[in-house]
Symmetry: D2
Subunit: 280 residues, 4 copies
């Protein structure tokens, strides 16, 4: 339903990825060739870990209900800040309401989360999903999206201790609630999680037909493949991106993440692992 | 926390009450002498039953997160439509989020509802309040205010069959949930309810110190008292208003609604009744 | 750059044309097959002459910078009001700023105006265009679009006395200013003008390659052609629409307005006339 | 009509001044004791020179039409960035339109500008003011405020070479245009200008009754006066503020800028000079 992008590496101005590439996230907001919807104009968000000496390690958020393609503040902000780890998301809402509390990424303490996809029959399941939350977390759900509930369920099930296990248990619980309501293929999506140092990107759906997800080949390799592409010199050796669809048309620059897979990105680079492949 | 106004009578342009009086609702949004907060700039709403031959008897809503005093669409709309029964509300939020789904009035089918006041320690109570809802109504709560939950609780407890009993039972249930959480004085507010024909206005708080509420003296009487006031000639004999604070400085034009009272307004005029005066 | 629709006939709820047809204006905001841009998500507007007994004959405006497809107030409003003559417009901006003062239709007294198209090199010409305005009108230009300047130039050149001559002289003046700046093909567009009783729709560009414009076949004829189409029974015999592209796929329901033509619609129906076909 | 604040010194999070003081700019937006209007809820802006290694020396802008007191993005942004020189402004509009292009500060290249006050009878004078602009600058005026025209007039008259002379000549030209239209007391205001290194703050009105303006005593002195005030330890020795009204109640912490005075703040601290005291 949406498109998202996550970056980790040397601190950069987010505009370098969000605004400037041929198929930047903002370009995808107006026209995303691989998206379930081609227009993602129902609000957007940026979440970033500041690179300057802010005392609190918490990420900052910028949420807007305007389309990303015409928001002036987005242009200003992503050119003025620098960040070693940021998320950005453009939304195509299945329905109202369009409001800042429904814009991704979501934040809890030092954790960021975003989602592209859907919990099937969310309205029918919402009460049971909300009841499955840690009661302390219940009043923190300020919006009305399925995605925010997935995030707080993942926290309920241990995301802050073990993000892969936490989100895995949350999705299994959602599938269980779905089946109890006669909804067989409940979960569908790609998910991004970060704690300020590590980034986890998930591709998973109950029916094994998830939205697309790609990650970038490492920059030194890319610079070797395309020595004439000047843009590639703007990035450091550690720069890596996970994204709903490729940001450029360079063959080999982006690799698809397999279905039922989690990608972990830290100082050692990307690591792929099977995710929820065993029967529920 | 807010200011509201409800009108019933001959169809009028809502601007006549919302924009034009000396202490109009829009004037109160910038400066409300009797309010708990003097500025009510955190969004507003208008709900109106159309007077033209619309097939569906449902009221229409206009919600905005801009301050009422500078919203051009509010000016345009309230001068262009006519309605025999409308609500308007300006909000002073205790906190974020400011979003259209948190703007009053709320609507369910042909019912309108609005509230000035607070459910104490709402965040702490919210899970139990939401669990007390009819499960069918749970996914219809789109915003994050206490007021919207009060409305759907009142529907759960029979508002559509008997508004006075329904809201009464809902408030008693809220007080019970409050006591279970160690919150002794849970409910505080004035409430307005309408079904398109009748208007009910409530003043009630657990501690018997509710926000102010006033109703207008009938127009023929007022015209007799103030034959020189031209503005009064703009209103028909049936025009009646209930409002958080008087719209003008004419002595005797507005009468205070007593604590723990419900006012019913229909073709026969106003009727006052005790509301929740017996011990819980 | 935009899409627009103008209706004249028996009072109807604007939603009947703006929201509900297969290719409604709101559907075109997300995907307009014949548009220069396929997405028209940079704000919208509705201007309508009230059908109820409002004393002032001035039209009312509703302007929003949200995309039309997700604006709840647009849905509410266009279902609650009725109007015998209304305009609606969805915008695809060539650039910022996106603001209500740049949303069409524009209003002056009882006149409404909207435009799809462009004045080429507007920034370069703007000073001279503004200087060509009646000085009294200068401070009434609140936005930064080319379209608003065209409107006030047309008023300067007599639109209120003779809309066809007034707009014609304004466009000739704009072409003259363009040529003086070395811009050969200055004007491009379709324009709608109304005074509350009559509707004028223009298709004209300096290079004779204007945006598309269509008008509806009269309803009794259409009902005869398509007796099985239930939707057609919702309209009265006088209902007529002018629109940037057809609202449905019924062959023969919409006829194209020729290049360099003005269509006048009043109680006698449509009348076509050549517009600015003589050499400048 | 507004309130503003300008900071220069060691890089700080703007929240330290915009959000956190007892009488912070955001607090003043809801209630400004010394303001011509007590509520400044008609939009706001922040302009800041980034402290990180951004290649371009241009300041960044954040503009919003929401009231500052409830804007979440303002909170996030001013806590996440750091800047050695920033402006912030909360607006009380004399009238519509409320739009981002009317929010201060304004920017041209590396220059920032903001204004509290008014050009009397602006609508009547606007055409002549706009005509007095360098024709190249004419299309850069995107909003409808008097303040933006003052800024571009000052640029026309040499602000980028000599800010004090440039603004001085612009204000004299405005007074001349005012007199030609029979407006005797045309200029009223306090103005802030910066180029990324130096800050200029002006207090001037034709009638010598300008809005208030204050500057902060230097931090080491203040820390000596108030050794027990912990907040003062958050600021470096170079931290200096110019502001419409004092940010705290510490006697002696803020000094009033005299009428018809310009304050220059650079690495050497504040310098006061007479401004436009000679007869026009």
């Amino acid at each position: 339903m949406c498109r998202w992008l996550a970056y980790s590496g040397e601190p950069i101005r987010p505009a370098l990825l969000i605004l400037e590439p041929r198929h930047s996230l903002v370009a995808q907001s107006l026209n995303s060739p691989l998206g379930a919807e081609t227009v993602n104009g129902d609000g957007f968000g940026v979440g970033w870990y500041p690179s300057t000496g802010i005392e609190k390690p918490e990420p900052a958020l910028f949420h807007s209900i305007e389309p990303a393609w015409h928001d002036e503040n987005l242009r200003e902000l992503t050119r003025a800040i620098e960040s070693p780890l940021f998320f950005s998301h453009v939304r195509a809402a299945a329905g109202p309401p369009i409001q800042q509390t429904n814009c991704h990424p979501f934040r809890h303490g030092r954790w960021l989360f975003m989602h592209n996809g859907v919990i099937a029959h969310h309205a029918r399941l919402r009460r049971d999903l909300m009841l499955a939350l840690d009661p302390e977390l219940f009043p923190l759900v300020h919006g009305s999206t399925d995605s925010e509930v997935v995030f707080y369920l993942a926290i309920t099930y241990g995301l802050q201790e073990d993000p892969i296990a936490g989100l895995g248990r949350a999705l299994r619980r959602i599938e269980e609630i779905g089946r109890a309501h006669g909804v067989p293929e409940t979960v569908q999506g790609t998910f991004a999680v970060a704690d300020g140092e590590t980034l986890w990107a998930f591709r998973y759906s109950t029916s094994h037909r998830s939205r697309t997800l790609y990650y970038s080949v490492d920059i030194p390799t890319l610079q070797g493949m395309y020595p004439e592409v000047e843009r590639l010199r703007l990035f450091g050796a550690e720069a890596r991106v996970v994204v709903s669809e490729p940001l450029n048309d360079l063959p080999g620059a982006f690799l698809e993440v397999e279905e039922a897979t989690v990608l972990t990105l830290d100082a050692d680079g990307f690591r792929e692992e099977a995710f929820l492949r065993e029967p529920a």
